[in-house]
């Protein structure tokens, strides 16, 4: 500590060490709070209508004409329990899962970002999905699918955690109505 540069180095090095311990303590404490002290948020999904059409699912070059599905749904969810002191924002999304060969498919049809605890109550009536679903084979063939609400808690410091909502809604892709 005999010169200015020595003192700068010592001081800043110790501040860095303490900051590392502090962020570790914050992230561990919020993980413990999420696991043991927080009740699971409640949600309900209702699929109002699903419409399978034939055509280009997006505007743009190089999309082939294929079957694609548009959905309208109701969603009620109260995600306020997920906000701890370390929560920066929640990424909430509705995902549709359906089988396929060789792997099952999972498509996000709607998402939102929630940054405040006050905005964490979702109440949507007859909302349209942001994104349409189209399969790699180009056809749905009336497969069964499940719609579930999932969320990703993004903290200020620490690990990202993903969680499935407990509300699921099973449905079938309806067959294409008109001939191609």
């Amino acid at each position: 500590m005999f010169s200015i540069f020595q003192r700068i180095q010592q001081y800043c090095g110790f501040v860095t060490t303490v900051t590392v311990f502090l962020t570790a303590a914050i992230s561990i404490s919020s993980l413990i709070q999420e696991h043991f002290f927080i009740s699971i948020p409640r949600a309900s999904i209702n699929l109002q209508s699903i419409d399978v059409r034939f055509g280009k699912p997006h505007l743009g070059y190089n999309y082939k004409r294929q079957e694609y599905a548009l959905m309208r749904f109701d969603l009620d969810a109260d995600l306020t329990p997920l906000f701890t002191w370390n929560t920066k924002q929640l990424f909430v999304y509705l995902a549709a899962t359906y089988p396929g060969k060789p792997y099952s498919n999972k498509v996000i049809v709607w998402d939102t970002i929630i940054q405040d605890k006050e905005d964490a109550v979702i109440s949507l009536q007859d909302a349209t999905a942001d994104y349409s679903i189209y399969d790699v084979t180009g056809k749905f063939n009336g497969r069964n699918a499940t719609l579930s609400l999932e969320w990703n808690v993004q903290p200020y410091v620490g690990l990202l955690t993903w969680n499935k909502g407990i509300e699921r809604h099973r449905f079938e892709f309806p067959q294409l109505k008109q001939a191609r």
Partner: protein, 85 residues
Amino acid sequence: MSDFQTLLLEGPIDFVGQQLADSITFYLVSIVGAVAFLVGIIAGDISLTAYTCALFFTAGFVIVVFPWPFYKRHLLKWLPPTTQN
């Protein structure tokens, strides 16, 4: 080197002052870190933790790094130069 250059580039302080600077570093930074964590977790607001840390760490930098007079209270007494035969 002039005295001003020495002051600016080296900032020398005596040994007791160095020990004091070391103690201030250790206690100020670790206690502020612990207290900021407790304040944040009790109030439920992480920005309290961040801002108290920023404020006190900057104040600590100013206190520790610069060669203040209270670090120079116990200057070494050099013997007078001996005459060469």
